[in-house]
């Protein structure tokens, strides 16, 4: 099986133009900042929107070919889609939403319906109306509904972006389990590097409607200039110490560097974690500070400064072998006289760290 795309599509002020060949095995993440075209691409594959030009082929079927004027509507493509907002039918109960998918199911791999319902913890929700569900519950139902329609390819459009941290962690785990069991190829749109690392075995980065990087997620995300959305950095490390009294964990990224304290959650000693640090959550001081609530003070060196707009400056700093993006006001940069080469301290709040 494979998915082959050759697409051109236009909106006012936006052009999507890409070629993609995916063996349709495992989970492929489409990653990029908002407006990069990743959701548009998903809609073009699903068939809920018609491309301006090109071809879409899946396995031995052609879903779209502008040269032959061929167009297969979404209901005849063997796909399942999990939308960002769930899109459960409000005029039906949860059970009827699932039965709807069952009624029109395709020819994809069979799913064990009872197992899906149990695993996604749906039994207490079955008789409820979708309007009474929380965001996390809604997305679990949406996932089950997509699986019940027995797709050959599952498309997910930022399914977790509207959820809180704990629902997100739970559903991520469930998606992984479902994939391991059913071997259903998944195309997963996200702007979260964390979700990419947890799920994907191939990463495609989009920027302004074009593919800017394509390859192994861990490798790509560790490269500083992979063309990734520049507002977060990922640091890989190991849990070396637990502070059980305050539920914090020390993550060591490099033996030469001080560990970074993060909320411990369910982390155990020795666990490998990937921390994502957002540029707006980092502050810079010229000297280490003693009287501060900030739990992490990291030695850094300024590499580059780029103005983002009239107010803000993007500062790239060296931390150990890697780099971090930092967003500061232009006034702060001037007051501290920051310039390439300046040695300073990065202040990172533990509660702002995600993994």
């Amino acid at each position: 099986m494979s998915l082959q795309l050759h697409l051109k599509h236009h909106y006012p002020g936006f052009t999507l133009d890409l070629d993609l060949d995916w063996d349709a095995k495992g989970i492929c993440a489409l990653f990029g900042p908002s407006g990069c075209g990743k959701s548009t691409l998903l809609r073009l594959i699903a068939g809920t929107e018609k491309p301006a030009q090109g071809q879409v082929r899946f396995h031995d079927q052609t879903w779209y070919d502008s040269t032959k004027n061929l167009w297969i509507p979404p209901q005849k493509r063997d796909i399942g889609v999990v939308f960002q907002d769930g899109r459960l039918f409000p005029n039906m109960s949860v059970a009827d939403n699932l039965a709807f998918a069952d009624a029109y199911s395709r020819r994809g791999p069979d799913v064990d319906r009872d197992w899906v319902i149990e695993t996604l913890q749906l039994p207490p929700l079955l008789q409820r109306s979708p309007e009474t569900l929380s965001g996390g519950q809604r997305q679990r139902v949406a996932l089950a509904r997509a699986l019940f329609s027995r797709p050959k390819l599952l498309l997910m459009d930022e399914p977790l972006s509207a959820l809180d941290h704990s629902s997100r962690q739970l559903i991520l785990e469930l998606i992984k389990q479902l994939h391991d069991l059913h071997r259903l190829p998944m195309l997963y749109v996200t702007h979260s590097a964390d979700e990419v690392l947890r799920l994907a075995d191939r990463l495609i980065c989009l920027q302004q409607g074009q593919i800017c990087a394509d390859g192994d997620p861990a490798t790509l995300l560790s490269e500083a200039d992979a063309g990734l959305p520049g507002d977060q950095a990922l640091l890989r490390g190991t849990v070396t110490e637990l502070d059980n009294r305050f539920a914090l964990a020390a993550v060591e990224c490099d033996a030469q560097l001080p560990p970074i304290w993060v909320p411990s959650g369910k982390l155990q000693q020795g666990d490998a974690v990937t921390l994502s640090i957002h540029a707006r959550d980092v502050a810079i001081a010229l000297e280490p500070i003693t009287d501060t609530s900030v739990q992490n003070q990291l030695p850094i060196q300024i590499l580059e400064l780029h103005p983002l707009d009239d107010t803000r400056m993007r500062v790239k700093v060296q931390f150990g072998p890697g780099t971090l993006p930092v967003t500061l006001t232009r006034r702060a940069c001037e007051q501290l006289k920051l310039e390439p080469g300046t040695r300073a301290t990065a202040l990172v709040k533990s509660v702002a760290l995600d993994y």
């Binding site: 509507p73 979404p74 209901q75 039918f89 409000p90 005029n91 709807f100 029109y104 199911s105 395709r106």
Partner: protein, 228 residues
């Protein structure tokens, strides 16, 4: 004072006319409303104005043009005569066509606004689950636009009940064939038979009020309780 056989015939004819008009308008008005709700055609506005015309036009004007069209050599009467061998003016079929035009906006406009407010994302989701056009319409569009459909049915029906001017122009006054309630009522008042007129007028008033009351009761939204 009892209602006469003529009165009952008029009531029955009126109900038959209103029922048939509503049913046919639903059948033809639904695709039209769907098209109007989704088209980007540049004639959309013109068509919308045309649909709304009976709202503002004096029924006698509509009746006058229909009378011309129904003439044996008219644009509708001619082909109809050729097809069936009979005329359109002063027949039930003629009345039905007139009523459909007269009540068209009352059916099409609620449907169109219902279709326009429908969340298209839900229909896309249904398509990605494998449901075709017909299934999507039956299982999502109709239930989700239930309020609009109910409104269209009620307004179409009650509006046709009260029809007078168009009927007067094209239907004439043939008992059992084209003599509807409002015409009988008019005759009774003309002959100063107020007692019978009271029965019909009061009955129509009560019926219309009850129907609208029923509609608005069923349209009342119940608040949804959010549980987590």
């Amino acid at each position: 004072m009892e209602l006469t056989e003529q009165d009952f015939a008029a009531v029955w004819l009126t109900l038959k006319l209103a029922g048939a008009t509503t049913a046919l308008l639903l059948l033809l008005g639904t695709p039209l409303a769907w098209w109007l709700a989704h088209t980007r055609c540049r004639f959309k506005v013109t068509l919308e104005a045309l649909v709304a015309l009976p709202l503002v036009l004096p029924p006698t004007v509509l009746g006058f043009y229909l009378l011309l069209a129904f003439a044996p050599d008219g644009v509708l009467g001619g082909p109809w005569h050729w097809l069936t061998g009979s005329g359109l003016a002063f027949t039930f079929t003629g009345l039905l066509i007139g009523s459909m035009l007269y009540s068209l906006p009352f059916v099409v406009q609620p449907l169109q606004s219902g279709f326009e407010q429908l969340d298209k994302g839900l229909l896309q989701a249904a398509a990605t689950l494998g449901a075709g056009r017909v299934e999507r319409f039956r299982r999502l569009v109709l239930p989700l636009c239930k309020r609009s459909v109910l409104t269209a049915i009620t307004l179409g029906f009650t509006h046709t009940l009260g029809e007078f001017g168009v009927v007067l122009m094209i239907g004439g006054n043939i008992p059992g064939s084209t003599q509807v309630l409002s015409i009988v009522l008019y005759d009774q008042v003309e002959t100063l038979d107020y007692a019978r007129a009271h029965w019909l007028a009061g009955g129509l008033l009560l019926f219309s009020m009850l129907t609208l009351l029923l509609l608005y009761t069923s349209l009342r939204r119940r608040p949804v309780e959010i549980m987590h």
